[in-house]
């Protein structure tokens, strides 16, 4: 029964994927996407609710199917060959990418066919961590797919000169969702590697969607770095097969082996760092912002990058209390600080969101590296809250870009007044990212509390990184909330599908905050109780205060809606020289007052953050790798 359900989750999305390739466009494509997305989401939620309700712990699903293993091996080789051929034509990158791909193919064939890596007895498994990723992929994935129907239609209208590749687009989206289900449910390291590479493939092709110079260049960069990550993964598998230590093909068995499995866990953790765009591997995520909004929202904010931290969270019990674990946490914390600082200097909304994603993933990596009950609690909840809020923000920015013709934050000034609903969605997304009482803040609070005793240096880095996040979010929020004195030209209506999807995500952001204790108790606590049976109960009393704050925040507008307006509107203070909505300048001409945000270039440029990111990130990653293999 379980096997059928899990298999359904992995196999079902392939049907809408192939249908999309065949149907290619029109209302039939829309129908395929609707049914595929809703079907996947319902299936994921059904499995999740069933699992949570059953109170089960770790569920291993044995499967004896050598033909399946061969099939997956064959598909993996196909994927690697495809990527190999593509990488040969890469213009900017060096020749090492095809070499690495070839090396990975050889490794995989050797390990699988040569029998050096034992076959997994139970290739699939289900536990709370996996279900968490599954639910995120299922719900957010389905919502983004629905949004994409409307968004890609508009893309078509705005850029009729580009070829209409929507069939391929949705094929890749559903293939990706299948791969994410595979990652969430795999207990076999070989299968995990396969699904991992499929996500690399999907990401590469999806970044390339628009087909212009920038897209191709950035897709190549993403491929190059993700291939490097895959090489780390393969290296881990090689170490597992050839090195000292446990010989097993299963993730759970690896975890159960304890300390001897640390080198493998660290190498696989490095693959996770690359997938989650940690420094020094973060450039590919920034470059991936050239892709259409649904790609950015789904792959590069909510789901694919979560696969990386998922792997790190999975191995966190092995990292806890070890030097490699602390170094990995250091990578995460430094990434959090430097990415947050760099976001302050950006005015392109998608780049701000990208840097923020990199930073928050860094926070989760820090949680995984340090480990322990509280840190893991915070890390898992960060996965959930970040996926929802960041997904919402990307979609809102995408819709705003189509309305405004620009995704610069300066052009979004006054958006709440100009587009009430879209503006509200964006505001809720931003609030959800940094402000109490929303989930992200609560999780960050717990991170700080968990880190202070266990790793004060990490806590200090997080404290410093916290401040710039406040700066750039408040700056953006302020631009949205500005009430422009002069009415600006009307904007087109946002398509209802887009608003609907955003509305669901916004409702989820708010509801998740209000239902925080329930979410913690159902989705996360049982997993932690199993891993840390001796730990005292989680003290969630302070959250009661937070909930009070939440209710006050939501209740305030109602009070204000009821109170009467206080009088006529005043003019802005412009030293008495107001003229219409602007002022009279020193040449006695009327001039509009134009506002521009601060980007702190004078302070940030001398810090050479890009270089610092590369050196610090590379140094810490190398140190972690060395510490791991030498342990």
């Amino acid at each position: 029964m379980i096997l059928q359900a899990l298999a359904f989750l992995i196999i079902f999305p392939l049907f809408p994927a192939l249908l999309a390739l065949v149907v290619k466009r029109g209302p039939l494509l829309d129908a395929v996407v609707w049914i595929g997305a809703l079907g996947f989401a319902v299936a994921a939620l059904t499995v999740a609710v069933g699992y949570w309700g059953s109170g089960a712990g770790l569920v291993l699903v044995p499967l004896e199917a050598p033909a399946l293993d061969l099939l997956l091996l064959g598909l993996e080789c196909l994927v690697l060959v495809f990527l190999f051929i593509r990488s040969l034509s890469m213009r900017s990158k060096g020749g090492w990418v095809p070499l690495l791909i070839a090396a990975q193919a050889v490794t995989v064939l050797y390990l699988d066919l040569g029998g050096a890596l034992p076959k997994a007895v139970a290739p699939l498994a289900l536990d709370h961590l996996g279900v968490l990723l599954l639910v995120v992929a299922g719900v957010v994935g389905a919502l983004v797919a629905l949004y994409a129907i409307s968004y890609m239609k508009e893309e078509r209208q705005h850029h009729p000169e580009r070829p209409d590749r929507r069939g391929l687009f949705f094929f890749l989206i559903f293939l990706f969702l299948s791969a994410m289900a595979g990652i969430a449910l795999s207990n076999s390291l070989a299968w995990l590697f396969f699904f991992w590479e499929v996500t690399t493939l999907c990401s590469y092709l999806l970044i390339r969607t628009r087909g212009d110079e920038a897209s191709i260049k950035n897709a190549d960069l993403a491929l190059a770095l993700n291939v490097l990550g895959g090489a780390f993964f393969a290296a881990g598998l090689l170490w597992l097969a050839l090195g000292p230590g446990p010989k097993t093909g299963e993730v759970q068995a690896l975890l159960a082996s304890g300390r001897p499995a640390l080198p493998v866990a660290v190498l696989l953790g490095l693959a996770g760092l690359v997938k989650s765009a940690q420094m020094p591997f973060h450039k590919w995520l920034l470059g991936a912002m050239v892709a259409p909004t649904p790609v950015s929202a789904l792959l590069h904010a909510s789901t694919m990058v979560k696969a990386g931290v998922f792997l790190l969270l999975r191995f966190s019990p092995l990292y806890q209390g070890t030097l490699p674990g602390q170094l990995l946490a250091g990578v995460g914390a430094v990434t959090f600080l430097l990415a947050s600082l760099q976001a302050v200097g950006e005015s392109d909304a998608k780049r701000v969101l990208a840097y923020s994603t990199i930073a928050n993933l860094g926070l989760i990596v820090a949680c995984a590296g340090i480990g322990g009950r509280d840190a893991l609690w915070a890390g898992m909840l960060l996965v959930l809250f970040h996926a929802v809020a960041k997904g919402l923000l990307f979609l809102a920015v995408g819709s705003a870009e189509h309305r405004l013709g620009s995704r610069d934050i300066e052009s979004m000034r006054g958006l709440l007044q100009r587009k009430r609903t879209l503006g509200t969605m964006m505001v809720i997304g931003i609030l959800g990212m940094f402000l109490a009482p929303f989930g992200m803040l609560t999780a960050k609070w717990k991170v700080l509390e968990a880190m202070t005793a266990a790793a004060p240096l990490i806590a200090i880095l997080v404290a410093f990184g916290s401040a710039p996040t406040l700066f750039f979010w408040a700056k953006w929020l302020g631009a949205l909330l500005a009430v422009p004195p002069a009415p600006k030209p009307r904007l087109e209506r946002t398509p209802p599908v887009e608003l609907g999807v955003m509305g669901v995500l916004a409702a989820m952001t708010v509801a998740a905050t209000l239902a925080f204790p329930a979410i913690s108790g159902v989705m996360v606590a049982p997993y932690l109780a199993r891993l840390f049976p001796a730990a005292p109960a989680l003290d969630l009393m302070p959250l009661a205060a937070m909930l009070g704050v939440a209710l006050a925040m939501l209740g305030l507008p109602l009070i204000f809606a009821a109170s009467p307006a206080r009088g006529q509107r005043q003019l802005a203070y412009l030293a008495g020289a107001n003229a219409g909505h602007g002022f009279v300048n020193s040449l006695h001409e009327p001039q509009e007052a134009r506002l521009h945000n601060y980007y702190l270039g004078s302070v940030l440029h001398p810090l050479k953050l890009d270089r610092a990111a590369l050196w610090l990130g590379a140094g810490l990653t190398l140190a972690a790798a060395l510490a791991g293999v030498l342990s």
Partner: protein
């Protein structure tokens, strides 16, 4: 003192204390400038006058943001005097401060816009040290709960000299005193250096003043935590001395450029706060 009583007393008495504190501040400043200064209750008269003003607002949303500012600032203080989680108090205070900044942004006027940015710069400057203060107090007393910190056996200031000094440094920013009165100066009242409240008037401005009183009592309360085990009299005397020091610094320094303010705050936070935190276990062994 039960937690609930503490919170209630704070909500009722903090405005009174804050008002007297502000008045004493102005009198001390005046005496340092060899003049008489206003009556002690002058801030109260100012508040009542503001509440009595009639007229227009720049937009209909400021009242909402500023009520939120007052509510969450007072709420943070109430949580503090309830004995709650210190880190949550810091984040609730941040929430209130963001509401004030939003009130200024919503006005969409040049001076308010710049003032809001300068306020955000101040927040960028003091936030790390504020969080490090909470982390430091945790390391010294093994609890984030204010009730536990206040009843610690050993005065936290003994193992947290750096954090204490760092907190005093950013207290200058939080109290809006020179050399860090970049966005809401007490002395100059216009355009760039008071841009934050340029478009806020009348009853709304009264909300801001009231919230500042609540906030000042809370900030001095955090200062008190460092000295609490020495007894009420000694700790209060220490707090009063530190506040006097802030007034002296205010009167004897010129305003810094924001780049300098930002860099020096982060440097102090790192050098005094961060270093101290890393050394706390060693210092604790020493004592």
């Amino acid at each position: 003192m039960t937690p609930l009583l503490g919170a209630l007393l704070y909500v009722v008495l903090a405005p009174v204390l804050g008002c007297l504190l502000a008045g004493a501040d102005r009198i001390a400043t005046a005496r340092m400038q060899r003049r008489q200064g206003p009556p002690l209750l002058q801030p109260y008269y100012d508040l009542r006058k503001l509440m009595g003003k009639r007229g227009a607002e720049i937009n209909g949303f400021q009242g909402y943001y500023l009520t939120g500012f007052l509510l969450f600032t007072a709420g943070a203080g109430a949580l503090f005097f309830h004995g709650g989680d210190l880190l949550l108090v810091v984040f609730a205070l941040t929430l209130g401060a963001v509401m004030l900044v939003m009130a200024a942004f919503s006005a969409n006027s040049p001076y308010a816009h710049m003032g809001a940015h300068r306020e955000l710069l101040q927040m960028l400057a003091y936030e790390p040290m504020l969080i490090l203060t909470a982390l430091g107090l945790y390391l010294a007393t093994h609890s984030f709960a204010v009730s536990a910190i206040a009843s610690a056996a050993q005065a936290p200031v003994l193992v947290l000299p750096g954090v204490f000094l760092g907190y005093l440094f950013i207290l200058t920013i939080k109290l809006r005193k020179s050399p860090f009165d970049l966005s809401s100066s007490h002395h100059a009242h216009q355009e760039l250096v008071r841009g934050l409240t340029v478009e806020i008037s009348g009853g709304n401005l009264a909300l801001v003043e009231l919230a500042h009183w609540y906030e000042n009592v809370l900030l001095l309360g955090i200062l008190y935590l460092f000295l609490a085990p020495w007894g009420v009299a000694a700790a209060l005397a220490g707090v009063a001395l530190c506040y006097l020091l802030e007034v002296v610094v205010d009167n004897s320094s010129a305003r810094l450029r924001w780049e300098t303010a930002l860099r020096s705050s982060w440097l102090v936070a790192l050098a005094l706060g961060g270093l101290n935190i890393l050394l706390v276990p060693a210092l604790q062994k020493g004592f």
